[in-house]
Symmetry: C3
Subunit: 245 residues, 3 copies
């Protein structure tokens, strides 16, 4: 049995953070939360998303897995207003997710989860950590997009830097410690990332939300923020690009 009731914007948040990276997703549903973990087709990024049961108005379920086509799910949820109540129910016999928005009942075929992997979240030793406002971060990423396809993130004791370099032009977003929400690093750390991927990861964060970035030297970065009025949490991992020079 899986039968929940939730405001549309919780599901819209879930879709916004997931769909830029992956299309077919396995939802792991338990008594406490709905979670998903998936790796993008190019194996460059991983997303881990969990939304606790108290983000839902009603929440009755046993442990189960649902294979969801995110594009299809997104097109259904576009029919609902943000504040509208949505009922989700799993019909096991038909293997359908029944989505009810007002008088509208949409039965959606589920994907077979048999072959879908359960990626492990690697244990990373990332000495740098910054907490920064999403709007600051996206301004830097947008500026970088027009001159390069990769950017360098650097953390020092007293500043966080995002740097991109094109043939002739540069972008440098350096934020001193006192203008950040938080910054801590035991040493100077620096890694290089694909701008496309980094941009996809942060594009669903609300402008005023805080984003936490964990960083090492030529190591993956771990990017975290809250969704669904802080009742959901997203963790992205992004593999570094190796500097060619």
């Amino acid at each position: 049995m899986f039968q929940v009731k939730v405001k549309a914007n919780v599901l819209k948040d879930l879709i916004d953070v997931t769909s830029p990276l992956v299309n077919e997703v396995k939802f792991n549903i338990s008594k406490n939360e709905i979670s998903l973990r998936a790796v993008d087709p190019a194996h460059v990024a991983m997303i881990d998303l969990r939304i606790t049961s108290d983000a839902f108005e009603e929440y009755k379920t046993e442990d189960l897995e649902l294979g969801i086509d995110m594009d299809k799910f997104a097109s259904i949820m576009r029919l609902a207003n943000s504040e509208q109540m949505v009922n989700l129910e799993f019909n096991q016999k038909q293997n359908r997710l029944i989505i009810q928005i007002g008088n509208l009942v949409r039965k959606m075929a589920l994907i077979d989860t048999a072959g879908m992997p359960d990626p492990k979240m690697p244990n990373l030793d990332l000495p740098g950590k910054v907490v920064v406002k999403a709007s600051e971060l996206s301004q830097g990423v947008k500026a970088s997009e027009s001159i390069s396809d990769h950017l360098a993130i650097t953390m020092k004791k007293d500043s966080f830097q995002l740097y991109a370099e094109g043939d002739t032009d540069t972008v440098d977003l350096t934020i001193p410690k006192d203008m950040l929400i938080d910054l801590s690093t035991s040493e100077k750390v620096k890694s290089l990332f694909s701008i496309d991927y980094f941009s996809n990861m942060i594009k669903s964060v609300k402008a005023n939300e805080a984003v936490t970035i964990h960083l090492g030297n030529d190591n993956p970065t771990k990017v975290e923020f809250n969704v669904a009025q802080s009742k959901g949490h997203v963790t992205y991992l992004l593999a570094p690009r190796i500097e060619s020079e």
Copy 2:
């Protein structure tokens, strides 16, 4: 002589309901109203539109016919704000419609109406009738569009249903009688329609407007609603699609 003065939004409404179905239209102008009746190029749908003379600020005319290119008329009316006054005048010698918006005077060549048909509105015996809010209806139609190209409309004594079925997914919008503005049918009736056409017919209705649908068994449907602050009335006829199974 044809010389009228009217708020731009009355003409914008007229354009919005007509242009999804037909491009070249014959306006029939009389002392009481402006009306048009046209069949779409594929002969699947008919539109009948009448706007009474009291929708106009000034209205002086004799009986006449004007052949209008709706695309051209639409591009002119986009220059006016909804609340702006527009003067229309027929110049018989030049065979032009003179459209005046503020200081702007636009002379538009008219189409020869000689070959244009006067389609008859067929007499249909449609036992089912529902009155439903446009926004409910369009949510159902939009949901159906992504999974199929046709939808079934059913009326029973106590409910109205819009149903679409794809290869694996279904959309079911069932509205019980007490959530409808009105419902009356002597028997269960059901017909199948093209979603494209049905969607075009209702896409110009304002969200809060009431739409009346008349239905029979494998018969055309008649869809009606008001425009121009209820001083205009639209009737669409849409031929059914025959179920292949």
Copy 3:
């Protein structure tokens, strides 16, 4: 040395009026103002733009020239909100313009100004002059675009006219003297212009702004208006098209 601080919307105005006509521009910077004068690639139109130093919050400079790629500059300025402060600084050693928006520092390569011309503003004897609200003018230009590629501007003692003629349709915007902000002409004057160019020239003017048009007989027109809260001034020259009949 060139080091200024200015609200983003002053620079956005500068970009909006310049980029429809030219892409590579030489800014002439002096103690009193920043100016540019450029001719479009087809040599049909000229723009002269000057923004006085008091449009800037801070303004420290010597006389110098900066070669700017307007597309690149525009994409950077899109990152700033209209009210945000922007710092511009010229780094002579690197030949870069350093643009600072908040914590974001963007270094932009400059274009070599060596080969760039200093077009002279021709001395024109244009007997007609009108001052008209930008929104009236653009309504007439938009109406004309859909039926022709050129329009005639006429000034008489008591009216200003914009007229376009297609194969079958016409647009006539005639504004009587008492509905204009100003009109003065010693004789009837008339010239013909490309709608594309004319439209590009006025498309950046705010709807409520006053536009001054100077006109002669088959002579270029001079179009002027203010930008940057009247601390900037734009002058366009547009060559006439010669009537073929």
